[in-house]
Amino acid sequence: MFDIIVVGGGHAGIEASLAAANLGCKVGLVSMDTTTIGRLSCNPSIGGSAKGHLAKEIDALGGYMGRVADKSGLQFKMLNTSKGHAVWSPRSQNDKDLYPYFAQSFVLSHPNITIIQESVVGITVQKDAISGVKTASNELINAKKVILCSGTFLNAVMFTGLKGVEGGRVGEQPAKQISDLLESYGLQRGRLKTGTPPRISKHSIDFSKVSILEGDEKPVPFSWYTREVKNVLCCFSTKTNQTTHSILEEGFSESPMFTGLIQGSGPRYCPSVEDKIARFSDKPSHQIVLEPEGISTDSYYVNGFSTSLPANIQERALRSIEGLQNARFLKYGYAVEYDFFFPYQLKFTLETKAISGLYFAGQINGTSGYEEAASQGLIAGINAALSLKDNGNEFVIDRSEGYIGVLIDDLVNKSTNEPYRIFTSLAEYRLLLRQDNADLRLLDKSHSIGLIAQQRYDSFLRYKEKISHLSDYCTKTKIRPETINQLLEQKEATPLRESQTIEQLNKRNIFSLEHLLQLSEPNAIIEYYSCEKRALEQVDITIRYEGYIDRQQKDVELFKKNEKKRIPTDFEYARIQSLSSEGREKLERIRPISLGQASRISGVSASDITAIALYLR
């Protein structure tokens, strides 16, 4: 008898298992093929715009994705540094062999986790509550809670051209019966598709004809646990041309999507190359990035060339691209169509409303992306574990606390009809939810339920203390005109008439905070803080963005106020005639707990909300 059974060893399953195990639960991790645990089935990379934020938050919640990415990283780059801090986002290229190796080593070495190589074909339910899972070899595994992280494997069909093969990844079997079974319990499912580009051999790339994409000069790790990371390899870029586009168009008649073989919706934001040229026909070319898949492999991932067209079209099209004239295919691109369950059927803990004790995480909820999956796995794992404890507290991150909160709130309230990907624009309080302050936002919360080792928490407290000392110093310490005016004049800036604090001067954005500290006295403080760049960065950002940060914090207060305006769980929406029919249907289905939540449900209009507000007064 396990406390918790986790089905699936992808990014969601790993975080779910480890979080629950760290909270003291006996966890059984069931995977069809345990060697595939932690595989990077699509691109060999972690992070990226907004996804990097998720990876940092996972680390602040005691998760593993950042640690594994650091250990298996080949190249590290902070994206969007030309823009403001809110949209800076870390990204790494990873070794596709080392990533699962380190992920597995965490899972295998955990005393509370048992790995079970089996195919799950069903769940067992007693009185609307989960009681375990049934395997293909007809064995029953009992568990108090079950977390389903089945990825793209539910009723999966893979397509290359018009040829459809059952399976969730090349060479792997799909999970069939379980999806029908869940539907029989009243859960509603839909169909989605995702795709992956071809992999080609390193030796067939003409590197003289492609441009180099370097990593950062000073690469920064994702995780608190990692001291430093190094750039080992780099990426290369090239682009499609008109010839490429016309070859691809020839294949449209054999496209599983354009011919209607695939019905599921694809990700609008990560489209296949055929989708791109069909939808943006006026664009003469699209960028292609060649990403190495590892040190011990010749395989390169052709980012930007996701396709499910027939193999011969893929070959001809790719070979029309500069530098890829002799490309040798190691694996063709393909599309996968799979079942997902509409996420409005979930609670914020990711427990299904239909079956108590059954949790869903990852692509089964309609999301795409490793980071999105891992975030959900973590939240499901934590909540499944907490629900077994006496007080039964819930662990929910709200929209003002993190991207994980934005992600889950969107899933529950807006559901989705296409693969959901996180974006910074989805976060209302974007300036507050930066990748650089994930620990400041979340570490107290994760520590309070026991997910953070004391040593790490102590170090965090020291870091916070440094921030408050430094920011204190900046508000109190003044720099005299005679110290700085010459420098100001050199920069053609207005000189000072009287002394100004470091804080005031930093706002003028002329000198770096470090420089200002050096100008101030005593000099000792520099030596002290120069070794803690992160504290310096926090103080710098807080001073510089003060006005905007204050505004966003006021918005958060309003948000929290509306989250506290409770709607009774038995509220009869039918009584308010003025509700739009779509609004009423959605409200009855989701049963929001607060007016704030109600206002975010898709299909519920602003006037619906006003009507409820008036009713509740």
Binding site: S49, F423, N562, P568, A606, T610, L614
Partner: protein, 456 residues
């Protein structure tokens, strides 16, 4: 929680109220709305047919009878849900215009399970039942309170969604700007072009101009809503009260040649070309130690602030420039006020070479010229052609929207990073939402519904 339950039961019941003003009138109407409206009235209505058997939008003559006593002969107009003002079953009982009769009928209905409506409750129900949106609620308030004919017309247009449509189009424009910037933030490293800054600035400028236009129409909306205010000021005994009486065409103010006769202030209205014009007579302004009169002078200051225009009345018999010092003082204190110097007591002066408006209030000379002047002033501040009417709530949100947009424009010009610009634009979008009543804020709703009297 108790409050919530109370509201719930409250909404299911039937309400009634006198829908016409109190006092003696030709006709009065008691309005009954709710599930039981028709049955409740049927209990006491004796006519040719039972009301519940009658079609919607029909009127029936009969008697309102209580315990074998005829209370009044009445008409009952039937509106069956949802074809009524509130969206519920409604009966409007027309009776003779005596408040006592109306009160009896209301009391009788209340004994039959009908509850007295609270202020604005009929309109609130209309809103909750989806008959009207929030700007339409405000338009109804304007329609009820408007003091001018153009005002009632504008409010009627707003009732058809004038303001809502204008604001929604502004919101659409801001959303499209926001989308351009967001694409840049989330995708630029994936080979998408940057949004053109000058294009975005142009769009922002156009939204700002539109919002400022709306704000500019506030003064005319105020004029339409409340009418035009003329304040009479001047030194004691300059003839303000005489002018006041002449403008009104009746003796309202006590007139004497003793300085300081008008101790308080007097206010009267007349209609000029469909506009209500309110004229206020103030105490003369001078150094004085009379406490009561000082009080009056304090009022004078308030009245100056409230007035759309000030007539400074000069006693020309004491010299053309006798009041110049006062004019200067007021101008310096109220630089934005339009002040018209009027030379009075024309009859006592031989030299008629004044550059200002010259009148004799006492002998009714020049009074028509003065009225024409007021008409022209009204025309100059009223902006026709809008199909919306801005109130002070709208005005303050418009101000916030303009602030947000100006902040965004400054940010773009200063090359501030994009994600900060989006904070301003998103804030403007939220403010439009609040203006349109898309907000859960209690204060907004309270403010809106506070303008209704019982029966509407």
């Amino acid at each position: 929680m108790n409050n919530y339950l109370f509201q719930l039961t409250m909404f299911e019941d039937t309400i009634c109220a006198l829908a016409t003003p109190h006092g003696v009138s030709g006709l009065a109407v008691v309005r009954v709305s709710g599930q039981n409206a028709i049955d409740a009235v049927d209990e006491y209505f004796v006519g040719k047919a039972k009301l519940k058997n009658c079609a919607s939008h029909t009127i029936h003559y009969g008697k309102f009878v209580f315990e074998n006593t005829i209370i009044d002969s009445v008409t009952a107009s039937i509106f069956i849900s949802p074809q009524s003002y509130t969206g519920e079953d409604t009966v409007e009982i027309g009776l003779h215009g005596n408040t006592l009769i109306a009160q009896q009928i209301i009391d009788i209905l209340q004994n039959n399970g009908v509850r007295a409506a609270t202020a604005g409750e009929f309109t609130k129900r209309a809103y909750l039942n989806g008959k009207i949106d929030i700007t339409q609620v405000e338009a109804i308030a304007d329609l009820l309170h408007s003091q001018t004919i153009p005002g009632t017309r504008l409010a009627a247009q707003q009732l058809y969604g004038g303001l809502t449509n204008t604001m929604k189009s502004l919101k659409e424009q801001l959303l499209s700007i926001c989308a351009l910037l967001e694409i840049e933030l989330d995708f630029s490293e994936e080979d998408l072009e940057f949004a053109q800054r000058n294009e975005i600035l142009q769009l922002l400028e156009s939204v700002k101009t539109l919002t400022l236009d709306m704000m500019a129409s506030y003064s005319s909306a105020q004029l339409y809503r409340s009418g035009f205010y003329v304040g009479l000021i001047g030194y004691p005994n300059s003839g303000k009260s005489t002018l006041f009486n002449s403008l009104l065409g009746k003796n309202r103010a006590i007139v004497s040649s003793v300085e300081g006769t008008t101790r308080d202030f007097l206010e009267e209205s007349l209609f000029i070309n469909g506009f209500k014009v309110t004229i206020t007579d103030t105490a003369g302004i001078r150094e004085t130690d009379d406490i009561i009169e000082l009080e009056g002078i304090k009022f004078a200051h308030n009245i100056i602030t409230m007035s759309d225009i000030l007539f400074l009345v000069n006693d020309a018999s004491l010299g053309e420039h006798y009041s110049d010092e006062l004019l200067k003082t007021i101008k310096s204190k109220f630089p934005d006020k339009e002040i018209i110097l009027i030379q009075n007591k024309l009859d006592l002066v031989n030299n008629l070479e004044f550059t200002n408006i010259t009148i004799s209030a006492k002998h009714q000379i020049g009074i028509d010229t003065l009225k024409d002047f007021i008409t022209k002033q009204i025309a100059s501040i009223s902006v026709y052609g809008n199909d919306y009417m801005i109130n002070s709530r709208h005005y303050s949100y418009c101000q916030l929207i303009v602030d947000d947009i100006e902040s965004a424009i400054t940010a773009i010009n200063n090359k501030v990073t994009t994600e900060l610009v989006t904070i301003d634009i998103r804030s403007a979008i939220n403010h439009i939402g609040s203006l349109l009543g898309e907000s859960q804020e209690d204060e907004v709703l309270n403010t809106i519904f506070s303008r209704f009297c019982i029966g509407k």
